[in-house]
């Protein structure tokens, strides 16, 4: 892959960014989702509206935030609203088109775990937890997931269901009355998975150049099926790569600046 002139993370982020169209309103998680959304906004989709769960609405950060609470997000936002409002009026109110999530584990129906590995009461690994993810997964008109793919993260059975995808599939989500459409696309470092009609099961619909269907299946903890036709996704264009690398470089430089607090007296 290195020979291709870009890394797996880079093509994943570029591919995720390409899913976002013009004026969409996105509720953004930190990390890979944040990089993808800001890349899109700074390149092909300048009208993209980004909302972070800290309450920064229509924010236009120059550098990627390390936390949802970064002042960069507040200073470049149209407005900053209190937490109850961003979840009640914006997210639950049905005013978010796309929710962009990551997670530690995903199952074949797009349900997500970001809470624990192992048993909740006696966990092997205690993860940071759900944060805003449960309600993003419930209320956003559609959800995009960005995750690095391996048998440890794409699992047969979640240790804990933090956020609902299609539940047990076969239309259960729709019947249960969850307002949003659920995870429409899962973008990984191998390609893209999408839910099959009727069954709601995630199937492989696209791969990156030089990735085989078998490689993706080997990196999946359940018997992953491929769609009848698996597309090959375009490699990142040089301007996309340049924009992404510049974004990361700006971010690194900004975050390396030492902090000095002037105390009175």
């Amino acid at each position: 892959m290195k020979d291709a002139g870009y890394s797996r993370d880079e093509i994943m982020t570029v591919t995720a960014a390409r899913q976002l169209a013009g004026g969409a309103v996105c509720f953004v998680g930190i990390g890979l989702p944040s990089a993808a959304c800001n890349l899109a906004r700074q390149s092909h989709a300048p009208g993209l509206v980004l909302i972070y769960e800290s309450g920064t609405v229509d924010t236009r950060p120059e550098v990627l935030p390390l936390s949802i609470g970064d002042s960069e997000l507040a200073e470049t936002a149209t407005c900053v609203v209190p937490l109850p409002e961003v979840f009640a009026y914006y997210l639950q109110g049905g005013r978010v088109d796309v929710g962009f999530l990551g997670a530690a584990q995903i199952d074949r129906f797009g349900n997500l775990n970001s809470t624990v590995i192992g048993d909740y009461q006696k966990p092997k690994v205690r993860l940071p937890g759900g944060g805003g993810a449960p309600e993003i997964a419930t209320h956003a008109r559609q959800v995009m997931v960005v995750m690095r793919q391996s048998t440890r993260s794409f699992v047969e059975q979640l240790d804990f269901c933090t956020s609902c995808g299609y539940l047990n599939g076969g239309g259960e989500r729709q019947r249960s009355g969850l307002p949003g459409a659920g995870p429409r696309r899962v973008i990984t470092d191998f390609g893209m998975l999408e839910p099959e009609a009727e069954s709601d099961e995630l199937v492989l619909t696209a791969v990156y150049p030089d990735v085989t269907v078998e490689q993706v299946q080997e990196a999946t903890g359940w018997p992953l099926r491929a769609a009848p036709r698996v597309e090959t996704l375009a490699a990142p264009r040089s301007e996309e790569l340049a924009a992404l690398r510049a974004l990361h470089a700006r971010t690194r430089a900004a975050h390396a600046e030492p902090v000095r607090i002037a105390l009175p007296g």
């Binding site: 309450g55 390390l66 209190p82 759900g130 902090v259 002037a262």
Partner: protein, 227 residues
């Protein structure tokens, strides 16, 4: 709060996200939950949205608040103390009732306090206002005391009679930031990962920099953050 957990000061944690933002885990929190060190920690875990509703209910003196339902995640169904199904009395629609959170004390850091004791919050305020108004007692630390708050009439202000005590603590948000005063110390968040990963290194750091310092200002000076 990773420090309070690691020092065994916390019996229970009501929270909706417990990580080191942009870095990874809070290792003292992990150690307490995974290995009960130094003492077991009871988790009262909710999602951000549930927490927002719980504080809003607390601030409104209501025993519970309402969200759109039904509750289907493992988190929502983990304990019936936090989340219960509720049916809309008008439409029959499936809703979620979230029990109120009413802290004994809410401690928060803000930008300014004026002579009357009104406190100004500015920037990303999260649920600070609701957490304060849900509490029986509010303690505020502020960057500065001023004659008159430099704030628009629609600013977020906690009025004086809701506040029990105010301390002027410049740099009190560190290692986080105070909007309009100083930025977030991202390097320290990274460093904390190493410090907190190891029990002995953590204890030594706490002894030197928290227990061994007279106040917040001396700690900041000792760490070379403040001048």
């Amino acid at each position: 709060y990773d420090q309070m957990i690691g020092m065994g000061c916390a019996r229970a944690l009501t929270f909706s996200w417990g990580g080191n933002p942009g870095v990874g885990s809070l290792h003292r929190l992990r150690d307490a939950v995974e290995n009960r060190w130094p003492v077991p920690l009871l988790l009262d875990e909710r999602s951000h949205a549930e927490m927002a509703v719980a504080y809003t209910a607390g601030a409104s003196a209501l025993p519970c608040g309402v969200m759109k339902g039904p509750p289907l995640t493992d988190l929502a169904t983990l304990s019936t103390d936090r989340v219960r199904p509720l049916s809309c009395p008008f439409t029959g629609q499936a809703l979620i009732a979230v029990s109120a959170v009413t802290p004994d004390v809410t401690i928060l850091h803000a930008q300014q306090a004026d002579g009357d004791g009104n406190v100004l919050l500015r920037g990303i305020i999260g649920a600070a206002r609701e957490a304060a108004m849900a509490a029986r007692c509010v303690i505020a630390t502020v960057e500065e005391r001023v004659e008159r708050l430099t704030a628009d009439m629609n600013a977020v202000i906690l009025p004086h009679w809701l506040i029990s005590a105010i301390a002027v603590v410049p740099g009190g948000a560190w290692p986080s930031y105070a909007q309009g005063h100083y930025p977030r110390d991202n390097a320290f968040y990274s460093d904390w990962d190493g410090i907190a990963r190891d029990r002995e290194r953590f204890s030594a750091w706490m002894k030197a920099n928290v227990l061994g310092c007279a106040d917040h200002g001396s700690m900041l000076r000792q760490l070379g953050v403040a001048s």
